[in-house]
């Protein structure tokens, strides 16, 4: 099982536990876990409504793609630890990481 933590927009932190062989993105897991993530474009890195900030474990992720960086550039509240959850594939590298939901509900 993969375990990581999510901090919602109200500051509540909860551990999420999911099977390793699941072929989903973090955005899809967040939606399935009933977190209020819009994901307007369905996961194509085109709308930036699944903005998360990596609170712990940023070094575990690869470099973001140009498309992802381009979308992050449009956001008023992005930081150097910002990512789009739709571009983060679920895998064992997420173990121990922590993500904070950003943007509006």
């Amino acid at each position: 099982m993969i375990k990581f933590e999510i901090e919602d927009r109200q500051g509540n932190i909860q551990e999420v536990e999911i099977p390793e062989d699941i072929n989903l993105s973090l955005m899809e897991v967040l939606k399935a876990s009933d977190y209020p993530v819009l994901a307007t474009c369905g996961g194509m890195a085109l709308c930036a409504t699944c903005h998360v900030e990596v609170q712990r474990g940023l070094e575990n992720l690869g470099e973001p793609s140009d498309a992802e960086l381009d979308m992050l550039d449009t956001l008023p509240d992005a930081s150097s630890a910002s990512r789009l959850a739709c571009q983060i594939k679920i895998g064992s590298h997420l173990n121990g990481m922590m993500f904070k939901l950003k943007g509006e509900e």
Binding site: M44, A48, T74, P76, G103
Partner: protein, 293 residues
């Protein structure tokens, strides 16, 4: 006043195809959308991207799909109100509905179909404490009429395509243009970014990178903005206008006030006929929810 059989709120693909289905049943439709063009998020967010989940099309460009939907419904002669947001929905004594938009356009109809997708696309706003005080009084989230900015001092904020494009355009209109971007580079639209750097080098615009807006000042109208730089230094910039350009994000908006049963930003429907709890009002596509959806 516009009279029609069905008023469809939302001119995305679901709303457009509803015109076709209604047309087969000899019902006339009027479509309303807050965006200035039809197509919803397909036209607004990713018109040139291929999409892969349309039956019969292994791959189709989003705008091509919208253009084809338009062709498909043209024979039924739908009418449109675009660039206006529906504010109120009132059921009249005779059972018909009166729909009123932000620009006071009134539509009367026998039934209302809400095809609003994820809601109205509204501008994303930066976190500036007193931003709301200056909305419409110096702060604008889109450039509808560039002439408004002629010979004025303006600040644009953002780092996406639209911030770059408007900076370039308005550098020939305004007396002073400053672009504030939170990063040190622009990662999209390399051509536009190059032009912006060139304009900054020749002194035609001011470019503040690694910077963000903190506070706005002015008595009744915007007069200046405080910007925090990379080294946390504070600058105050004189400005007649601030244009934050951070893209659009969908919001449920006034739909929440129409007496409909809402669950997590979606309208509850009966899947027998996609009716809502208000007789005569239906909800289709992403905006609805039902057991098992």
């Amino acid at each position: 006043m516009i009279h029609t059989d069905i008023c469809i709120i939302g001119a995305g693909p679901v709303g457009l195809f509803a015109v076709f289905e209604a047309g087969l049943l000899k019902m006339r439709c009027h479509l309303i959308d807050v965006l200035p063009q039809i197509g919803g998020q397909l036209s607004e967010i990713y018109p040139k991207k291929p999409i892969y989940d349309i039956p019969g099309f292994p791959e189709v460009l989003a705008q091509d799909l919208v253009d084809n939907l338009k062709k498909q419904i043209d024979p039924f002669k739908p009418t449109y109100t675009l660039g206006e947001r529906v504010e109120t929905l009132v059921k009249r004594e005779d059972g018909t509905f009166e729909v009123k938009t932000s620009d006071e356009t009134v539509i009367t109809c026998k039934a209302v179909v809400i095809a609003g997708g994820l809601g109205c696309f509204e501008p994303r706003k930066p976190e500036i404490e007193n931003l709301a005080k200056y909305e419409g009084k110096g702060v604008y989230y889109m450039v509808k009429d560039p002439e408004r900015f002629r010979d004025k001092k303006i600040i644009l904020a953002g780092g996406g395509d639209s911030a770059l494009d408007w900076t370039i355009f308005l550098s020939n209109v305004a007396s002073e243009v400053t672009l504030v971007h939170r990063n040190e580079s622009f990662r999209g639209a390399p051509d536009s970014a190059e032009k912006v750097f060139e304009l900054a080098k020749t002194g035609k615009i001011k470019l503040l990178l690694n910077a963000h807006l903190k506070e706005l000042k002015g008595d009744s109208f915007l007069e200046s903005a405080t910007v925090i730089g990379k080294e946390k230094e504070v600058k105050e910039l004189k400005a007649d206008y601030l244009i934050p350009l951070f893209g659009l994000s969908p919001k449920l908006g006034p739909i929440a006030d129409w007496g409909l049963n809402i669950d997590k930003n979606a309208i509850e429907v009966n899947t027998f006929d996609y009716s809502t709890n208000v007789p005569g009002v239906f909800a289709i596509g992403d905006i609805n929810t039902y057991p098992g959806s």
